[in-house]
Amino acid sequence: MASESVSPVTMAPPRRAALGPVAWLRENLFSSWGNTLLTAIGLLIAYKAAAAILEWGILNATFTGEDGSACSREGAGACWPYIAAKFGQFMYGRYPSDERWRVDLVYALALAGLVPLMIPRVPGKLWNAVYVFGVFPVLAFFLLTGGAFGLAPVDTSLWGGLLVTLVVATVGIAGSLPIGILLALGRRSKMPIVRWVSIGFIEFVRGVPLITVLFMASVMLPLFLPPGMSFDKLLRALIGVALFAAAYMAENIRGGLQAIPRGQFEAAEALGLSYSKRMGLVILPQALKLVIPGIVNTFIGLFKDTSLVLIIGLFDLLGIVQLNNTDQKWFSPTTAMTGYVFAGFVFWMFCFFMSRYSQMLERRLATGHERGPLRGG
């Protein structure tokens, strides 16, 4: 305190070269000769890709036209009028035009339920869940199939496009959830027969490709039924998809069950709860919360896999695009490419959004069950 002469130490300002965009560039792109070379190669690839996409999608693309001849120029890019003309089919298949409002209404009802359910801050999750899992499926069923409340019946063979993709994926995942829970509990059961049956089913289904399961559902299921009885092709595919997804779902849920500390099981037992109450009130609510990201990832996989139903003769989004690509009226060298790019973009949007959502959930739900990265000794 006595010596007043000491001048306060001030930090020298950083050297110019350590700040600003130039420094960022030097740091991230040109830090060494090897890095500069990589940057050059990367720039070349990025430029080539961007130029190709721009030329194909916009500069050389066709925007108006009545049929394929408009897109048949030399070096023509995307054939966008083809998408515009077929948009209704891509979305609804051969669903009658006058009835398409019903599909839109189902989408609107689904959004009205899902959006508040997916945003963590919105209150009233219980009633929201009752609506999404209890009320909405019934409404959607009657709206889509018709035949009641004065709605004209629409045969499932007329359904197609994005509608079938969404129906197969959502019904598949909704159906797989209860079966998956039972299988996961069965696999952890103390009863040997129940355990072996569950393990057998799970490992069998996970060991074979979805195509063979769908083949089985479409070729063998009719053989399994009493002679003379048959049912809808879409329903057959739904059963196949739900059973297939159930095996993956079971493994997801088993992971969640294993993450629940042993003390929770013991505490529930100590309270004198029965098995169903122990699981339903104590274990499953915690386990299912843990595996929500895994369920979303299974859903993404299932959503992409729905495109396989075209192999057994259903027209999902990819199936209907594939069908229309061979339409003589729209024949041109770029029709097929345009159709695939459109379908790919739609699939990509759904999957990308869902994977981002699942990552968000993973961060949010990391409530301390797992230890995470090592913190010190």
Partner: protein, 399 residues
């Protein structure tokens, strides 16, 4: 002893729960019910199937395997024509599946490791490009990508007369990729022999180097030794013998190419599609594996004075591989199962030849589907058996 007796006594004196409430009785009942339900279900399925098959006049059994197939397959690895049996056609399809899966696994692994490491690059542009690749490819259905490669790319190539030349004397057109076929001449066996000897020599060198390091702490120049033995030696033999390898170049004769060898567009599309799609998943696994090695390990390696290469080779990669390999095997399995999508672009794989053509011709749905599932199931069980063995070997032995 006394304690045990007293507990037993207490249990006896406690009020007995009703017979049906005892856990072991309940478990027995549940299991009997499960078995009965499965037996009834199985019985119904079998009787229904038998009735249906009788109505369609299809004799069940595996006799059809010995019947003449009467159809051709566009790509065969073993001798096959339409006068051979359904059993032979099954083998052709199985080999085609294994071929595309094996090559696809190699390509996907190489591409996946490159992209995964690129995502961790300190170069911003390279990391972003790799991230875009992963996010785009992973989120689009594989079947759509196969259609894209097959119908939109390969099937819209020009005909043989306007083929795109490929560097090295090959041609790419709508009928496939024509490549020069290597034709070994007398003496080429010696080159192969030199190559094998070189590989054996490098393995011995590696073992010797390991022993020397244990004894003295010094290593032998393994890298240079391997290059000299396994690359330079066969090359020298090859040149000394006057290059005993000729190439049969494809030539345009009339409307088509003659000579060389051809890769069918179906094969190329399936291979490219599978490799690119699976690589995007492998890239994420590799990235997670490398990120999973804790920073302290790298710092410890530095503190020990290891060089950059030694740190990667001796510390980071062995630990990263322990994280990477289990999910990597399941990606290999996925790729093998996904190769069944070749049926949609007419690649003659197991599903297409066997569960497609043979099933349609014979109508033996049950047998054919069961065999198909059995093949994939055994492949995946073999893989997971290998994986379990590998995991046990690699597992950290902790105190």
């Amino acid at each position: 002893m006394a304690v045990a007796t007293s507990t037993r006594g207490a249990a006896r004196s406690a009020p007995r729960a009703s017979f049906f409430y005892r856990p072991e009785v309940r478990q027995a009942i549940y299991q009997i019910v499960t078995v009965l339900a499965l037996a009834v279900l199985f019985y119904i399925l079998v009787t229904n199937t038998a009735a249906n098959l009788r109505k369609q006049n299809i004799a069940s059994g595996f006799d059809f395997i010995h019947r003449t197939s009467g159809f051709d397959v566009s790509q065969t690895l073993i001798a096959y024509d339409n006068s051979m049996t359904y059993g032979r056609a099954f083998l052709v399809g199985l080999l085609n599946t294994l071929l595309v899966a094996a090559i696809g696994i190699v390509l996907a692994t190489v591409l996946g490791f490159v992209v995964g490491i690129a995502r961790l690059s300190s170069n911003w542009l390279v990391a972003k490009l790799a991230a875009i690749y992963v996010e785009v490819i992973r989120n689009v259905p594989l079947l759509l990508q196969l259609f894209f490669w097959y119908f939109a790319v390969l099937k819209s190539l020009p005909g043989p007369r306007q083929s795109h030349p490929v560097p090295g004397g090959g041609f790419l057109n709508v009928r496939g990729l024509y490549l020069p076929a290597p034709v070994p001449e007398p003496g080429f066996d010696l080159v192969l022999l030199a190559g094998l000897a070189g590989i054996a020599g490098s393995i011995l060198l590696y073992l010797a180097s390991r022993r020397r390091q244990r004894l003295t702490g010094h290593r032998l120049p393994v890298l240079w030794g391997t290059l000299a033995l396994a690359v330079a030696m066969p090359l020298a033999v090859f040149l000394l013998l006057g290059q005993p390898l000729a190439f049969d170049y494809p030539e345009l004769k009339g409307f088509n190419f003659q000579g060389g060898m051809v890769l069918q567009p179906e094969f190329i599309a399936l291979l490219v599609g599978l490799a690119i799609y699976t690589a995007s998943f492998i890239a994420e696994i590799v990235r997670a594996g490398i990120l999973g090695v804790s920073k302290g390990q790298k710092e410890a390696a530095r503190a020990l004075g290891l060089s950059n290469g030694q740190m990667l080779r001796l510390v980071v990669i062995p630990q990263a591989m322990r994280i990477i390999i289990p999910p990597l095997t399941s990606q290999f399995l996925n790729l093998t199962k996904n190769s069944s999508l070749g049926v949609a672009i007419a690649y003659p794989d197991l599903v297409s030849v066997w569960a497609g053509t043979v099933l349609n011709q014979t109508g033996q749905a049950v047998e054919v589907i069961l065999i198909t599932m059995g093949v994939y199931l055994s492949l995946s069980l073999l893989t997971s058996a290998f994986m379990n063995w590998f995991n046990r070997r690699m597992a950290l032995v902790e105190r």
